[in-house]
Amino acid sequence: MQQLFFESFQKNASRKSYYFTYVLLGLLVHIITFPIYMVNRSKSTYAENAMNVKQQIIDSGKVIQWQQQYEAEERTKAQFFKQSIIEQEIAVKAKQLAQMKLEREAEKTLTTTGILKNSYKNYFSNLLKQPLFLLITIIPGIFMYALLLITSNPFIRFIFERLLQSVFVIIGVATLVFTILYISPFDPARNLLGVEATPAQIENFNKLYGLDQPYLVQLWHSLSGLFTFDLGTSFAGKEDVTQSILNKFPVTLEIAMFSLLMAIAIAIPVGIISAVRPNSFIDYVFMFVALIGLSIPSFWQGLIFILTFSLELKWFPATYNPNNWMSIVLPIIVLGTSITASIARMTRSSMLEVIHEDYIITAKAKGLSERKVITKHAIRNAMIPIITVIGLLFGGMLGGAAVTEKVFNISGIGSYIVDKQFIPDIPAILGGVVYIAITISVVNMLIDILYAFFDPRIRSKMKKS
């Protein structure tokens, strides 16, 4: 156990931010150990040893040699830049450089002999090795030990860091959106109560929703509201914002999920076929269709689909109805079109890149069938960038859902935000945008973490660091 703490501390404390956090979290422990270290320091043997080593190097005549070398270098440098040569200056500089080299050399020899520089870092890591010390300090330094435990394993440390990053991004998103809405020149009170509202009414409204408070107080309320899932009531209609978002989010998520599934099911085979037969007729047709899919505005596509499949052919209903699964088909296709096109293009280019790698030639050379080369060696390697792109596109899709929802009259989160923006209804917009951003962040974080487990290259890189 103490070995684990010791290693974790040794490895991570070399990074300033971690060292700082360790000290901060275990402040109660460090308050006591640091003075003890200061007292003990004078007894150190390090300085003595260093003196000895230095003397040895000087005696061997190396320093003078270095000095002459530096002098020659300085002279040629001055000559090259056509500067006047001042002997005295050069001598001083060369001496300085030689001294610096001496320090470095001495330290190098000392570390090879195993005598560590006497720093607080080393002192403390040595303390961590003692079971008694751990037992005494486990209660006051519990946070520090927790962090040491987390950071002892590179995987867990990576997950922890990624999690922390997501939390910061989410707080940043919430602050940004709140600030944008806060500095808005619109006055929700006047927009809601109408032009005839008396100043007293407006003041009352602002007081009711806390709009008269200073910026930081409002920000704090919004942030804590976001994380405790209590955003209060919306300005118009006085409905519970969290509850409405909770009611509307599943529809959007359901459509987005189905769209994503459709996209993956269609796009990846299409991309692979295109890449396996590049510049063939089928490749041209697929990529042309994909480019059209990328260029078509989703709301127009929705209108055209309604026109043909609902009004003319009467296959699907034109508006969404939760009780009729047929009505969800058109929105899924419309929302999924552009992401299908993107994934297909991405798959093609990623596959093409992989197919030209040397290991594919090796696989072919050792006599594997084309099918086996593609399925076993090419696809698996090509999937890595594709999955990242899918994660990023998923975010864009949730954002673009607003337009599709409006076209098909779906009361999802996107159309909720659009409906609320005219007032502007600050808690509703803030909640809607931030919860979508959180969903996206979580999805992307999960993808990143999954990578760390599945991609052997990332895994080995992490172990090395």
Partner: protein, 498 residues
């Protein structure tokens, strides 16, 4: 030149043959569309104009197919396209008057053996001008035209003639790396029509001037090589053609189109179906849909370009700084941009517009802010790569300061992926603009913008569907063109494919 014995391979690398295949495909698709549209199924009557178009396109398809057979035979017999077969291209040029730019472009390509980049520029400048002439010409069926109409039309005809003459002269006298000295004034003259938004003319003028002066052959060669690579991609050329055409049309529309038809209500002609006077019909206020779409192109292009250039500059600068300095600077900038990156662009735009109101300036700002992180990431990755090159090190050794190293040595070498990215995202910006307008969050509703037109059209979907179909088609074509051109640019500029 190497002797290529395999006819199949020869066919593959002969541009005329590849072009013919494209032209056959597109002409066939269009003939099919015309065939489907020429019979009105609900009323059971024929549409004679559409039928004529179908006949022209079908005939063109067959003709092009025959020329492709001739090329095949020539290649098998003589290993090159003969002079006699090249003459077959000339009649195809006339198909431009039926709007078949594919066949006309193919005709020009077939007609000349000497295919320099300038020739292509001149040809497409000519085609663009003819298209603008025809589109503007539709205004003569209107009750009245603007005062500058005759003058503008006259200018267009003169310009078209100028481009045609230039194309012929180039085919005769310009080679891959030289141009005769007397072409210099011609090049300068060709810079002037740039004012009509015809970018092909600008490119043509610049290339001719550089070639005729011949002061820096290596730069000329580099320029030529890049353009040849882009122009070899047929779809990229058509993409560029449509972009230039739209841009030029939106520049000259104020001289040939009457803005009143687009915005003034005319209750005598509510919801008319397409006629010659109103080529695409009228909307619920009697406004001419055709004029509205033409003026809508202005807004879409302005917003699209602004919402691309602004974030490219800001994001590019941030990315360059963070990529060059690294460490804490990099960390702070990129973590701040991560926050922006976590919000989907459209949602951020909705939030910004909710806070500051819906108008064109706010729309541009809203779309720009969301796009900054992607540009910053692209630029950062490039700069990080280029900072490690020797020339940066030598610049530093010579005492250049950081600013001049970043902006004079690194950024110019990191621009290519940024240009590609920008071209590919203009299309996205155009779509976002119209989407937001459709939601009532973009351009003010009284301005004829494609999203606004579609919004009106969506309410008449059942009875007057053309109101929703045409503006949507325009958006799609414009975005498609940007994507095609962007793809072509990427293929040409990507060092991997070199």
């Amino acid at each position: 030149m190497k002797f290529i014995s395999d006819v199949k391979l020869l066919l593959k690398i002969t541009q005329e043959y590849v072009n013919a295949q494209f032209t056959i495909a597109f002409s066939a698709i269009f003939s099919l569309l015309f065939l489907l549209y020429c019979f009105n199924f609900s009323e059971g009557v024929w549409r004679p104009i559409v039928l004529v178009f179908f006949a022209i396109y079908a005939a063109t398809t067959i003709y092009v197919w025959l020329t492709s057979l001739v090329i095949k035979k020539d290649l098998a017999k003589h290993r090159e396209v003969t002079k006699r077969s090249r003459l077959l291209g000339i009649p195809l040029i006339l198909t431009v008057f039926a709007g078949n730019v594919f066949a006309a472009g193919y005709g020009f390509m077939l007609a000349s053996k000497n295919k320099t980049a300038e020739y292509t520029f001149a040809v497409y400048a000519f085609l663009t001008q003819i298209f603008i002439l025809m589109i503007s010409g539709l205004n003569i069926f209107k009750p009245y035209v603007v005062d500058t109409f005759i003058l503008a039309m006259g200018t267009f005809i003169i310009l078209a003639a100028l481009y045609l003459v230039t194309a012929i002269l180039i085919a005769r006298h310009v080679t891959v790396d030289t141009a005769p000295k007397w072409m210099l004034p011609l090049g300068i003259v060709l810079l002037i029509p740039t004012l009509t938004g015809n970018f092909f003319s600008l490119l043509l003028g610049i290339t001719l001037i550089r070639k005729a002066r011949n002061t820096d052959p290596s730069a000329v060669e580099k320029w030529q090589k890049t353009w040849n690579k882009i122009l070899r991609n047929t779809m990229a050329v058509f993409g560029l053609f449509f972009i230039v055409f739209m841009f030029s049309l939106s520049v000259v529309s104020s001289w040939t189109f009457d803005y009143d038809f687009a915005v003034e209500n005319n209750y005598a002609v509510l919801l008319q179906t397409p006629t010659l006077e109103y080529p695409l019909g009228t909307d619920n206020f009697g406004r001419d849909l055709f004029s509205r779409i033409v003026f809508g192109a202005q807004i879409s292009l302005i917003v699209g370009f602004c919402a691309t250039i602004i974030p490219a500059l800001i994001g590019g600068a941030l990315g360059a700084i963070s990529g060059y300095y690294g460490k804490n600077t990099d960390n702070i900038i990129m973590r701040a941009l991560d926050v922006l990156y976590a919000i989907p662009g459209i949602l951020l735009a909705i939030a910004i517009i909710a806070a500051f109101g819906a108008n064109t300036t706010n729309l541009i700002i809203a779309l720009s802010v969301g796009a900054i992180p992607t540009y910053a990431r692209t630029m950062r990755a490039n700069v990080m790569q280029i900072s490690n090159y020797e020339f940066v090190e030598s610049a530093r050794a010579l005492g250049a300061n950081d600013r001049s190293i970043i902006f004079r040595h690194i950024v110019p070498n990191a621009l290519a992926p940024m240009i590609v990215k920008a071209t590919l995202t203009i299309g996205g910006a155009v779509i976002s603009t119209s989407s937001l307008s459709f939601l009532g969050l973009g351009i003010e509703p009284h301005i004829p913008e494609w999203g606004n037109i579609l919004k009106v059209g969506s309410t008449y979907l059942e009875s007057h569907s053309y109101l929703a179909i045409f503006p949507g088609l325009c958006i799609m074509l414009l975005v498609l063109s940007f994507n095609f051109f962007g793809d072509g640019l990427r293929d040409a500029l990507d060092p991997k494919s070199n």
